[in-house]
């Protein structure tokens, strides 16, 4: 862990919270349902970067690669389910605005 990589490491560790906040902000202020999914995607991008960085700086990047691959697969499946849900929601409301997923109250 020499000096440059220490600085680089700090940058990578920093990237995760930034992307996380952007993602959360996108989800919360989304007008359109798909924007929420985009927000989530960005958060997962952040995590992939973090995984790669921890592998690289932690010394065994191969296992990190493995984690990233598994994670991408899982994330794709989740995304398909999400898009399925969106398609069905749109079938019911035929509009993408997030207003119509606010009526489960109480």
């Amino acid at each position: 862990m020499n000096a440059e990589s220490l600085i680089l490491f700090k940058f990578y560790i920093m990237i995760m919270p930034i992307l996380f906040i952007i993602g959360i902000f996108a989800v919360m202020t989304a007008k359109n349902i798909v924007a929420i999914i985009i927000g989530i995607e960005i958060m997962t991008k952040g995590v992939t970067l973090l995984l790669a960085a921890s592998g690289y700086f932690g010394g065994n990047p191969e296992i990190a690669q493995n984690f990233i691959i598994v994670m991408i697969i899982i994330e794709v499946v989740i995304l398909t389910i999400a898009s399925g849900l969106i398609v069905n929601i749109v079938k019911k409301y035929d509009s993408l605005s997030t207003k119509n997923i606010r009526n489960l109250k109480g």
């Binding site: 560790i13 995760m16 996380f20 993602g23 959360i24 989800v27 349902i33 929420i36 989530i40 958060m43 997962t44 952040g46 995590v47 973090l50 995984l51 960085a53 921890s54 592998g55 700086f57 932690g58 010394g59 065994n60 296992i63 990190a64 984690f67 598994v70 994670m71 899982i74 499946v77 989740i78 389910i81 999400a82 399925g84 849900l85 969106i86 069905n88 929601i89 019911k92 409301y93 119509n100 997923i101 009526n103 489960l104 109480g106």
Partner: protein, 468 residues
């Protein structure tokens, strides 16, 4: 040997879908029911009690007392869910077939999660169970269930992101994601702020999955909007396995200094009180049950917060009890819904006369949740309060006791509104719930009563479980 419990459901799913012959949903449901019964008795076989690390196929599976309890409750709740599925008319037969597949996959996921000893695989199995439950919730594609499932998906993917980042940081520090290595790493770097941030993120992720109070937004919608069998399955076991069981696993890794325990205590008591208040005069029956399950989960988290082995022991016992009588309540809710086909409490009253079995079993479930002596709930709450008392944080013990008054209030209100009082004229033609639902509720009710009455036996059996 442990692998079997994960692989069998996988093979069953493949078998069912090869459609070598016309497989209608009845056979599928039968197979699923048989599997859950099989699991119930299979885990009593001796080798489950040895801590041998089965390295078959270099898998690092391991089963100790805690996972045994989880396996047992998984089996029970899935059996109940499948019975409810068989009897529910609202879901089309095609959907029921898919429901069975998804339940089997979820079972495989949960069994896997219970055996695994590696934080990344924990993440993987949690994701599997989450994915299956998204689909299960949105099974009957009504507006409500779609919205609930979407919300659940969004919020738990946020949780996943948090957990994964924590896994990444721990992996970086420990070099490998195995429990033991991470635990060693923790001893040295425990105080390092980065590691602390990682463990906080991990805890928050699990809190979201478990539905602890400030992070529970999705839970009431998911439970109340999902179709009947899903809500039984979800409320009974899914949230507890993904959320609370993993907390126990991490308990061994993170060295629980006082501030971590304080987090558990504060959030546990917060969820107990506010959820109980939220449940008080709720109009939707399932939503009320959702709030009550949040508060009971709060009790479990409170028990873990005490930081002692007795606390973990009490938490696990309450987890088992809670999964039993909560799924019983949801079974009764589905029975009611199947007969009165509405969840609104205000137009249900005096059903005890028409539906005796459902009402008696739900009364027993209510009493057990509130913690009335002869039943199981009382013993686990007693253990929790004792654990808290001996571990020194007496004020939380007192709070736990007082909160059970709230539980009693909203259950009594519920009891009075739904089951007693004079029968509405339009209900006097309804019959008792179908056979399988009655079977499920009687089965669960028997378990609650038995654990309650034979508590000493169960106590030292669990002590034995915790010993190895």
């Amino acid at each position: 040997m442990f692998l079997l419990l994960v692989l069998i459901p996988l093979f069953l799913v493949l078998l069912l879908n090869l459609n070598l012959y016309k497989v209608n949903y009845k056979i599928a449901v039968l197979i699923a029911g048989l599997f859950s019964l099989f699991q119930m008795f299979f885990i009593f076989s001796p080798n489950f009690f040895s801590t041998g690390l089965v390295d078959l196929l270099s898998l690092r599976f391991e089963c100790d007392g805690i996972s045994w309890i989880m396996l047992f409750s998984i089996a029970i709740v899935s059996f109940a869910a499948i019975c409810v599925l068989y009897a529910s008319e609202t879901i089309a037969s095609g959907k029921k077939f898919h429901f069975v597949n998804l339940v089997l996959l979820a079972l495989a996921g949960m069994n896997g999660l219970v055996f695994v000893r590696d934080i990344f695989s924990i993440y993987v199995f949690i994701e599997i169970i989450a994915a299956t439950s998204y689909v299960l919730i949105a099974l009957d594609k009504t507006k409500k269930s779609l919205e609930a499932s979407f919300k659940y998906l969004v919020i738990s993917s946020v949780a996943t992101v948090m957990m994964l980042s924590a896994v990444a940081i721990l992996f970086m520090a420990a070099g490998s994601t195995d429990f033991i290595k991470v635990a060693q790493m923790y001893k040295e770097y425990g105080a390092n702020p980065l590691i602390v941030v990682a463990s906080v993120f991990f805890i928050v992720g699990l809190f979201i999955k478990g539905g602890v109070m400030p992070f529970h937004g999705w839970l009431p919608d998911a439970y109340s909007a999902s179709p009947n069998p899903t809500s039984v399955f979800l409320a009974g076991i899914v949230t507890k396995t993904t959320g609370i069981y993993t907390l126990v696993r991490l308990y061994a890794i993170f060295d629980f200094n006082y501030s971590m325990q304080l987090v558990f205590l504060v959030f546990g008591s917060l969820s107990i009180v506010i959820a109980a208040i939220g449940a008080i005069n709720q109009d939707n029956f399932k939503r009320m049950l959702a709030y009550s399950s949040i508060s009971q989960v709060g009790y479990i988290v409170l028990a873990f917060g005490s930081g002692t082995i007795l606390g973990v022991f009490a938490g696990m016992f309450h987890l088992f009890n809670h999964s039993v009588f909560k799924s019983l309540l949801f079974v009764n809710a589905s029975a009611l819904e199947s007969r009165v086909n509405t969840n609104q409490i205000h137009n249900m009253s005096g059903l005890a006369s028409r539906m005796p079995v459902t009402s008696t079993t739900s009364v027993i479930a209510f009493l057990s949740t509130a913690g009335i002596p002869p039943l199981a709930g009382f013993w686990s709450k007693l253990l929790i309060v004792l654990a808290l008392w001996f571990s020194g944080n007496k004020e939380f013990a007192v709070l736990a006791l007082l909160a059970s008054i709230f539980t009693l209030t909203y259950f009594l209100i519920m009891q009075k509104k739904i089951f007693f009082g004079q029968l509405k004229e339009k209900f006097n033609t309804i019959k008792e719930a179908r056979f399988t639902i009655r079977l499920a509720s009687l089965f669960l009710c028997a378990i609650t009563i038995l654990t309650g009455l034979f508590f000493p036996i169960i106590l030292n059996f669990m002590a034995f479980l915790f010993s190895f």
